[in-house]
Symmetry: C2
Subunit: 252 residues, 2 copies
DNA sequence: CGGCCAGTTGACGGACCTCAACTGTAGTGG
DNA sequence: CCACTACAGTTGAGGTCCGTCAACTGGCCG
């Protein structure tokens, strides 16, 4: 019991995740049906179609939400970073899969006791509600990207999102015009997130590099040299309106 | 006072919308800062960037959520039918616009009193939470459509969604293999919803018609002749894998 | 009748996908 | 140490789906 208690006290997301809404006493009760897990990249957390038996808090790292297609391709419909929450709240079955995108630390909660606990703690449900609303907002932004933007803009949007992560976590200063980070994804994963192929993603990386908007010391090592310009590209309204340097021009 | 009370009592969504979570007394309190509105198609409910001052219940008809692009194009990121809910719950400003898709009856609530009221009525927040979770689910399905499906599949998916509406509202029997309904949207609106152009939408309608999967007595009057087949097309995993009849084949 | 708008259909070009060859890096084993 | 494999990533060639532009049809209304 004491062990559980102290486990939560040193939790990295005690004050910013789900649990931030709970006092110590409630947290202790919650911890009784929670379990900590560490996963390696690509380990499956739950699978599309499975019965939803647990909820998950992301304490460190990131997980990806995936819809699988019959031909082996997949589409990534969401990324959840720490502090984050995943799980099917109303359905009995999962409508998508989840797997570790990086090395991940999770806190898993058995669904039934959690649901009961949640009813007794409206502040917890409110917290999950907040998370869901934000998720819906980013999901709708992504719909615009998938529905209306060309590959160049999509990749720019993706890199911008990655850079924003740095600022959110305080790992970089938002008023600077550059950013530097390690990509935790392969070109294929990025493609599956952007609705493109890995070749197209690679080409757009190369273009951005040639335009000196980014630099690639190695393929996973991204330096954004001009964040403002990248932002302008990502928000360009239509592809044809944008003045951009494509392969035909470069080869001319 | 009595007028307001009786107004809610005859409300078509009293027992299925937001208010279904409330007893008569709470409903009376809510009605004090609510107002009923009727809008014609294309009337704007709120605009992207505006301060969010109201929430809305959709009592009859449908509204569309829209992101506008600089070039005059727009992308429809969601449709909300009765009974439904719209409004920006956490942000101070709207991140998208909303307008009447059909003739619409709304119930609008001033945001500040509603937020206070909601805190005192967890069952209301729970209801909104439920609606948000479902919205997120359909949003993620739509991401798959936008990211991975070809125009033929998208249009099939759209028509299927329209048909599902009939079954949900009880206007048709779900075990039948056909459906018949009036489209409340122009080809352009459908295109803006599917991330296509109106010409492409029109072509796919024509293809489906030639395949005798649908019939079009008039352009807005859709008869789905083979719902199962339409469903199979909509869920086809990749475009290239699908055996479908395209223009090249038809012209051969 | 003419004007207007929604919708259809055709011709053409371009962006992206497919297939394929190649490079670079890391790991394994002789 | 080098050969060999395996895999991520890059780059090229060619084809196709869909967007663009344009002409045409049909219904509606003054």
């Amino acid at each position: 019991m004491h062990g559980i208690r102290s486990r939560c006290e040193i939790c990295p997301v005690r004050n910013c995740g789900l649990c931030a809404s709970l006092d110590d006493q409630a947290l202790l009760a919650l911890s009784k049906f929670s379990r900590r897990k560490t996963l390696k990249p690509h380990e499956v957390i739950f699978h599309e179609g499975d019965i939803s038996s647990h909820y998950f808090s992301v304490m460190a790292g990131a997980i990806k939400l995936v819809k699988n297609l019959a031909d082996g391709h997949q589409h990534i419909i969401g990324l959840i970073y720490s502090p984050g929450f995943a799980g099917q709240c109303l359905n009995s079955h999962h409508t998508y899969s989840a797997e570790a995108a990086t090395e991940v630390e999770l806190c898993s909660y058995s669904r039934e006791p959690f649901d009961i606990f949640e009813k007794a703690h409206p502040e917890l449900e409110h917290k999950i509600f907040e998370i869901t609303v934000r998720e819906l907002d980013t999901c709708r932004d992504w719909m615009l990207l998938l529905g209306r933007k060309c590959s160049y803009e999509r990749v720019a949007g993706f890199l911008l999102m990655m850079a924003d992560r740095l600022f959110e976590t305080g790992a970089a200063s938002p008023n600077k015009n550059y950013a530097h980070f390690q990509l935790p994804f392969t070109r294929l994963e990025i493609a599956d997130y952007l609705g493109l192929t890995l070749e197209t993603v690679s080409r757009q990386f190369s273009l951005l590099k040639q335009e000196k908007i980014i630099a690639l010391p190695s393929s996973r090592d991204v330096v954004i040299a001009d964040l403002q310009l990248l932002g302008a590209i990502a928000n360009i309204e239509t592809c044809s309106n944008s003045v951009r340097f494509d392969e035909t021009r470069l080869s001319a």
